[in-house]
């Protein structure tokens, strides 16, 4: 694991993960880990670490899609950045927003104002409160704020009267747009979209994704967390691949082409080749359960190119060309 460096190193050629020429990235995670104490039925108390040593960066104006299978704990990343993990969670590693370390205080100030969430479903809205009141930024009930709500609603093709609706009265598409609106109205620079298109109609999915792309094009940073590689690829600039609690590769979207020759990590390549349009070739096996992780590289049991060295220790994320990869064999 690299040691942290002073962040304002503008002008240096970026060999360290996390720095760019223009200065500090909008969001950066270094060795992020999240663990919980678990009391499972019939078992004793134990510790589970769904996220181990996760690294990523996100720049303004770009969409970074974090792809991982369902249930792998990707949402925890969103909650960790916002600082709304449950109280029994322990967070290790470091998080930076615009170069500033994110502690609890900073998170409390930033969330809802500079960092916003687009949640998964309409269940994230209070069922007994009209939608308009929930879209308003907290603490702002004045005329100006209400007008802003109406204008943002209009931008997303919602009527002004729709602010009077209750969440259960929204159609799937309308709900999506309302949720995006809540993030936009905050004026945040960092938008985290956590599985924003679960099981929706393809038209609604495309619409939602295009809204997110729009936001990035306006200069915001969008962290798109999803399990759907196709969706991610459709609007992302870079793709982060999430496996067994950590990022195994971060590649530009252009690398996802052909047979995946430009993809470095075997898992990424397997993901790409598993897509229906690429031959639909699935990879055998499944993610390791959280209570029995393999030694060394977490992907090693399923990896077609693993060697005995892979069992020794977890590889670090290293820069390779225009991306980053966590594999000792990548070249």
């Amino acid at each position: 694991m690299e040691t942290p460096v002073p962040v304002n190193a503008a002008g240096d050629v970026p060999e360290r993960y996390g720095e760019t020429e223009s200065g500090a990235p909008l969001l950066e995670a270094r060795g992020l880990s999240i663990s919980f104490f678990q009391y499972d039925r019939g078992l004793r108390r134990r510790r589970i670490t769904p996220i181990i040593g996760l690294d990523l960066t996100l720049e303004r104006g770009e969409v970074l899609a974090v792809i991982g299978s369902s249930g792998s704990g990707k949402s925890l990343l969103a909650h960790a950045v916002l600082g709304i993990l449950p109280s029994n969670a322990e967070v290790g590693g470091e998080l930076f927003f615009e170069g500033v370390p994110l502690g609890a205080e900073e998170q409390a100030e930033l969330r809802g104002r500079r960092i916003s969430l687009v949640p998964q479903s309409v269940n994230f809205l209070d069922p007994l409160m009209r939608v308009g009141s929930q879209v308003l930024p907290p603490g702002r009930r004045d005329e100006e704020a209400r007008d802003r709500v109406k204008s943002i609603f209009k931008r997303y093709h919602l009527e002004a009267e729709d602010t009077l609706l209750y969440p259960f009265q929204l159609s799937g598409g309308m709900a999506r747009r309302v949720l995006v609106a809540t993030a936009v109205i905050s004026g945040a620079d960092l938008i985290i979209a956590d599985e924003p298109t679960p099981g929706l109609h393809p038209v609604v999915v495309r619409e939602t994704l295009s809204h997110l792309r729009e936001l990035a094009d306006e200069g915001k940073g969008v962290l798109l967390i999803t399990h759907d590689l196709e969706e991610g690829l459709s609007i992302a600039d870079r793709v982060g691949v999430f496996y067994a609690g950590t990022t195994v590769e971060i590649a530009p979207v252009a690398a996802f082409a052909g047979k995946g020759e430009r993809l470095r990590h075997p898992y990424t390549r397997a993901l790409w080749q598993a897509l229906p349009r690429n031959g639909f070739r699935p990879l055998a096996g499944s993610q390791p359960p959280l209570d029995s992780l393999p030694p060394g590289c977490l992907f090693q049991p399923r990896c077609p190119i693993s060697t005995t060295e892979c069992l020794e220790e977890k590889p670090a994320l290293r820069k390779l060309g225009d991306g980053w990869v966590r594999c000792i064999h990548a070249a």
Partner: protein
Amino acid sequence: MNAEALLERPWAGRLLGGEANRRKRTLILVSLLAAFLAFIVVGGALLGQSGLSTNVELRNLAPSLRYPFGTDWLGRNMLTRTLKGLTLSMGIGLLASSISACIAVLMGLAAATMPRAVDAFISWLIDLFLSMPHLVMLILVAFILGGGAKGVIIAVAVTHWPSLARVVRAEVLQLRQADYVRFAKHAGRSRLWIATRHMLPHLAPQVIVGYILLFPHAILHEASITFLGFGLSPHKPAIGVILSESMRYLSTGRWWLAFFPGLSLLALVFAFYSLGSNLRLLADPWSAHE
């Protein structure tokens, strides 16, 4: 273990003490309860009839070391009377609850396994019983049966089965729909086999917990009915009788006649409630927030 599931129940990690502690605690509770019950029954028996005979010289003594619960206006040892009364209450409560539980299980099973018409009728019956005012019906039934132990037992038994029956019915209905049960049926297993191997293990905990939670209800209601005069005869040292008699002497300042017997009853009922709710949490941790 699914990471996303952790987000669904963020408080899960904080279950006070967790599973192992709950098991330990329940075990301790069970032993304490058993010891308590033994103390009541054995103690009452040991103290024998001597404490119950009238002894004019020992009248109206306040609590002391010799007579921890004091004595009453006839010189009877209140501790003896209380212990015997508790034993009586427990016995009646046990009997009434057992009958009630049997009715509940039978009705619940019948409703869930027999044709729709039977289910409709039983469900309607359950609703009917649950809409009737509880204590009033107890009084009515006890009144009809002329009071006494028989009256109380039947009254309590007949009014407490509906909620447990409803639980049994819901469980069995759900189990019948469960995939593994349907597979077993397709695979040709006999109904008895399915019933005992698949359904019983799921049903048993609920029924046992429900049964145990019936006791405190039954005991409290028996005491209430007896207190009002519809239950056990005044010749028996039932707690309800003791307390109703004590009302007469309250104004003369003999508070121990009411305080200790009632407190003991509270302790008994509380013990059963604690046991029942701990068992329920063991059987189904998600059923309540700690």
